[in-house]
Each structure stands twice: as C-alpha cells, then as structure tokens.
C-alpha cells in the first residue's frame, strides 16, 4: 500500500493503483484483522458483561455503569480471600521461577563449559525427559510431599514444579555459543567458574534469562493440577485454584473473579510481548 501509487499518471492510474494495492493482499489483511477481532471477542465480551450484566440495563450513563462495575470488582477483591490467593500465587510462582532458572543456569553452564564424569549421561537424561508427562506423577508427588509434611505449604506447591529440563537445554545451547575468548580472558584474569557464570555468561545472555523467567512465571501462575492437589485449605490456595472454589462470589462476580485471575499474566504478556514469543520459539527448538 505505497503512497506512490496515488500519484501515478492518470489513465493507467486506476489499474496501477489496483496492482500496487494488491487487492488479494488487502482482502487477506481485512480478513485477518476481522478474524483477530472475532478471536478476541470472548475477552471483550466478558469484560463488557461485568460492566453491563446480562438482563441488567445500562443505567444510561457510562459513568454509573463503570461505577457499578468497580463496585463489583471491589466486592470480589474484598469479599473473598482473593488477596491471600494473589500473595500465594506471587510467592510460589516467583519461587518456581527463581528455582528453575538457578538450577538450569548452573547445570547448563557445567554441561556446556566443564568436563566431568557423567556429563554425557546427564545430558542424555535431560534430553530424554524433554516431554515427560509430569501429570503422570501426581500420585507419587503427593505421596512424597505428604511424607515430607509439605502438603498445604508454599514449598510443597513449588517443588514438583521445578522439573523443567527445557530450561537446561536452552541455557546449554546459548552458553555453547558464547565466544571462547571471553572465557579465556576471564580465566586468565584469575576468575573462577562461578564468577565466570555470573559475571560473563549470564549477563551476555541476559535476554534469554529474562525471556525464560517470564514464561516460567506465567506457567507457574497458570498451573492448576498440582497446586489444586497440594493445597486443601482455602487461605493457602493459589489464585488459579482458589477462584474455582470460591463460594462467596456468584453471578457476574464469577466473571469478574476470572478476569482478576488472568489480569496479571495478561499484563505481563502485553508488556513483554517480544520476550514471551522469543522464549516460546527458543524452547520449542525452532531456533537457537
């Protein structure tokens, strides 16, 4: 859709305009935009429903409607234990994120940069467990967490979620491509491997860490099955589970609760779009 076409010589101009505009492409773009709006309609609709409930009438003034909606959200926020659930979700998701990144970066560094007995075996096992169905282990995770008295604790929610071989694979691949000269220079300066990892390898791959951190956090926030099994007391639940058990909210309050549950991750995604997409592409093995 270039502007040049518009100033083309008269006569042939219309034909050229059509060719330049690439009618087929334009139609596809419009279809694309239309499809995207249709795709996102459930999101728009659910938000609007909390503003003007079905069967309810708009008060005629947008201000009053929004006031009512704010009242509804306030009721959900303060009439339930949602505040506690937010805290639980933030603590456990942060714990999972820090834990996964730490054990993966150190292990990925060792596999990439150090020679040690069992290195090949460890790498093979990590690759082999790339796609393990963690869901198959719920019985035994419960058994173990129960034996360790970690049911109904933050740690009990966090621990089984630390299994993420993909993060090791991603780190190993990125560490492999760090220029050798950087490593040699630092080692000559007398730096040990820990400072090499934290002063050179991690800072050089800062983008990878940020991207992984965001998707691991979103994944932990959204996790349902394990947090649902590991916690039986309402005040200790994550929001992703608690909101499905809340007795205090009903009617459009349910929708408002669902929106409040998804809002933090939706915002994280919208703010860090590029990082999220990069992380997903890298960890699926498309490139990297």
């Amino acid at each position: 859709m270039s502007g040049e076409a518009v100033v083309a010589a008269p006569g042939a101009s219309q034909l050229r305009l059509i060719r330049r505009l690439d009618v087929g492409g334009l139609v596809l773009s419009i279809i694309g935009l239309g499809a995207a709006i249709l795709w996102a309609f459930p999101l728009y609709w659910s938000i609007m429903t909390t503003v003007i409930p079905p069967g309810g009438h708009s008060s005629g003034s947008a201000l009053t409607d929004i006031g009512n909606a704010l009242g509804l959200y306030a009721h959900v926020l303060f009439g339930t234990e949602i505040g506690l659930w937010y805290v639980n979700s933030i603590v456990t998701s942060t714990g999972v994120t820090v834990g996964v990144l730490f054990i993966s970066a150190t292990c990925g560094y060792a596999i990439s940069q150090l020679a040690f007995n069992g290195r090949k075996l460890l790498w093979g096992m990590i690759l082999a467990s790339f796609m393990v169905p963690i869901q198959a282990l719920i019985i035994n995770h419960f058994f173990l967490m129960n034996a360790l008295h970690l049911i109904n604790t933050w740690l009990g929610v966090i621990l089984p979620q630390l299994i993420a071989p993909v993060a090791v694979i991603v780190y190993k691949q990125f560490f492999d491509s760090v220029p050798k000269e950087l490593r040699e220079a630092a080692l000559l300066d007398g730096a040990g491997h820990w400072s090499l990892l934290f002063r050179v390898f991690l800072p050089v791959n800062w983008g990878v860490t940020a991207a992984l951190a965001i998707i691991v956090f979103i994944g932990a926030w959204n996790a349902f099955l394990w947090p649902f099994l590991a916690v039986t007391e309402e005040p200790l639940m994550n929001i992703s589970v608690g909101i499905t058990q809340a007795q205090e909210i009903f009617g459009v309050g349910e929708l408002a609760g669902a929106i409040l549950t998804g809002l933090p991750v939706a915002l994280v995604y919208l703010i860090f779009q590029r990082k999220v997409t990069d992380a997903i592409i890298v960890s699926a093995g498309i490139k990297g």
Partner: protein
C-alpha cells in the same frame, strides 16, 4: 562447547548438584516409585502389598480404562489436527501483515494462551450458558434449540475441544510464524515472475518448506492434548464423570477419590508409556528435520 584437556569434577559438582538433586528427588525417584507402586495394592499414602501383574491384567478388563483411552483419543482427534491447521492458517494471515497491525493481530490471537485455565473456562461457560448465553443463538441456529452444553454427555468433549482450540492455538501460531519467516522471500518473487498464483505458491513453496514445523507442532499437540484434565475437570467436576472420563482424570479419581494408589500408578505408567512413545516419534521427526 569447550573441550577442556582435564576433568574438572570437583569444580563441576556444585554446578550440577542443585539440578541433579531436584531431578533425582522430584523426577527419578517418583518415577521409579510409580513403577513399583503399580505392582502393589497401595492406597494413596499408605504403602501396600506386592500383587505382581494383577493391576496390569486388570487394565485390560477395566471398562473405565477403556473408556478413558477412547475418550482421550476422541479428544486428541478433535484438537491436535484442527489446532495445527488453525495455527498455520492464522500464521499465514499474520505473516502478510506489517508493523503495528501485525503486532496487534498477533497479540489478539496469542492472548488466550497466556490465561489461566479458570479464566478461560469461566468465560466460555458464560458464553455457552443455558439458555441465554451469547453462543446459544448460534447453537439454536444449528440444532434448533438451546442446549445445556455441559450437562449433555455428547456435547461435553466437543465443547471442551472448542474451548481448548481457542485457548492453545496461539502457541502454534508463534511456531508457524517463526517457520514462515525463515522462508527466503526470493522464492516467492521467483514464483511470481513465473506467474504462479497464491495457491501454487502455497503448494510448491510454503507447504514443503513449512512441513517440518507442521510435523513438530502436530506432535507437540498430540502429547499436550493427551494430558487433558484441567478444562474438563472444571466443567464436569469430580462428580459423575464416567461418560467423559479421560486418562489423567482417571489417575486423579483412582488416587485421590477412590484411594487406590497402586492401580492409579498403573494407569499413570500407561500414560507415561504412551507419551514416551510419542516423544520418540517427535524426536525422530526433529532429527529428520535437522538432516534436511
């Protein structure tokens, strides 16, 4: 990769120890214990006696297990291919757009994927609400009357499949988009010069070059959809669910509702074996892709 002349076992130990400890305690040990448990009559948290192959033999006589397998296959069939096709179709549309518009359109398609399951099921539960959810008009148009979607057995799995497609297809879009961007534009220019139309371009350039990504996305979807639990559980709950029973839900119900840990572990082993077999398939596909 650095080929150090000597072994740094002592240096490496603290680097690998955290991962190895977590992996050993929370993956290897539970996996081995699951296999052991599957030969016993344990309860969920009370160890039981060794019963040999009893649990495995029972699998073949257990109609619920059969139902869970066939429902799981039914659900995977309704989701794996459609979500792969949707992903490719949407990615091709998004790839044509430029700049801001592209970013916005991609974000709209991708947003559902980052939402928690409860958000997704609540929104769709409302839209499919009986009798006056916004989608009931559409349902009435097709079948002539509104339907209690999540109370009608034949509607439950297809409806959960639709919700799942909406929820998870954005992930596929991303992978396909990365694949499409890797196709050199010159190929399309050349095809245009040869007078090839859109369809010819798709047949002879896009499809063969995107095929490896298609195979990857499809196998990822196979494995992912096989593990269905959350959405279905939130719609039909822990109550009378035999009719729509799927594998993970069966493991959950055996272990946590019927306290039959040993047999639950047996079903879990079956799921494990199925997923591992599919992973090998995926690995083969990826290797084949690497060779091209």
């Amino acid at each position: 990769m650095a080929k150090a002349p000597r072994l740094d076992n002592r240096t490496a130990l603290p680097f690998v120890l955290p991962f190895v400890a977590v992996y050993g305690l929370l993956f290897l040990y539970p996996t081995l214990q699951m296999i052991w448990m599957s030969f016993t009559n344990s309860q969920l948290i009370v160890p039981g006696k060794f019963v040999g192959l009893d649990n495995y033999l029972y699998l073949f006589r257990d109609w619920r297990f059969g139902r869970a397998v066939s429902n799981t296959i039914y659900f995977v069939a309704m989701t794996a291919i459609p979500s792969t096709a949707l992903g490719l179709g949407i990615a091709m549309i998004v790839a044509r757009l430029k700049g801001r518009v592209q970013a916005i359109v991609l974000a709209l398609f991708f947003l559902p994927y980052v939402l928690p399951v409860a958000t997704v099921t609540t929104i769709w539960g409302w839209m499919l609400g009986y009798p006056d959810g916004v989608l009931q008009g559409l349902i009435a148009l097709v079948v002539g009357h509104p339907v209690r979607v999540f109370r009608t057995v034949s509607w439950i799995l297809p409806a959960v499949a639709v919700v799942t497609l909406w929820w998870t297809s954005g992930f596929n879009v991303l992978l396909f988009l990365a694949g499409l961007r890797a196709i050199p534009p010159e190929l399309y220019e050349a095809a245009k010069l040869d007078g090839g139309g859109r369809w010819t371009q798709f047949r002879h350039i896009t499809w063969p070059l995107i095929w490896p990504v298609t195979a990857l996305v499809f196998t990822i979807q196979l494995i992912l959809q096989l593990k269905l639990f959350d959405q279905l559980y939130l719609y039909v709950g822990g109550g009378q669910v035999d009719a729509t029973l799927v594998l993970v839900q069966y493991i959950y119900s055996l272990g946590f509702q019927k306290d039959r840990g040993g047999y639950a572990a047996t079903v879990a082993v079956a799921l494990f074996v199925i997923v591992m077999a599919l992973s090998v398939l995926q690995f083969t596909v990826l290797r084949a892709r690497g060779r091209r």
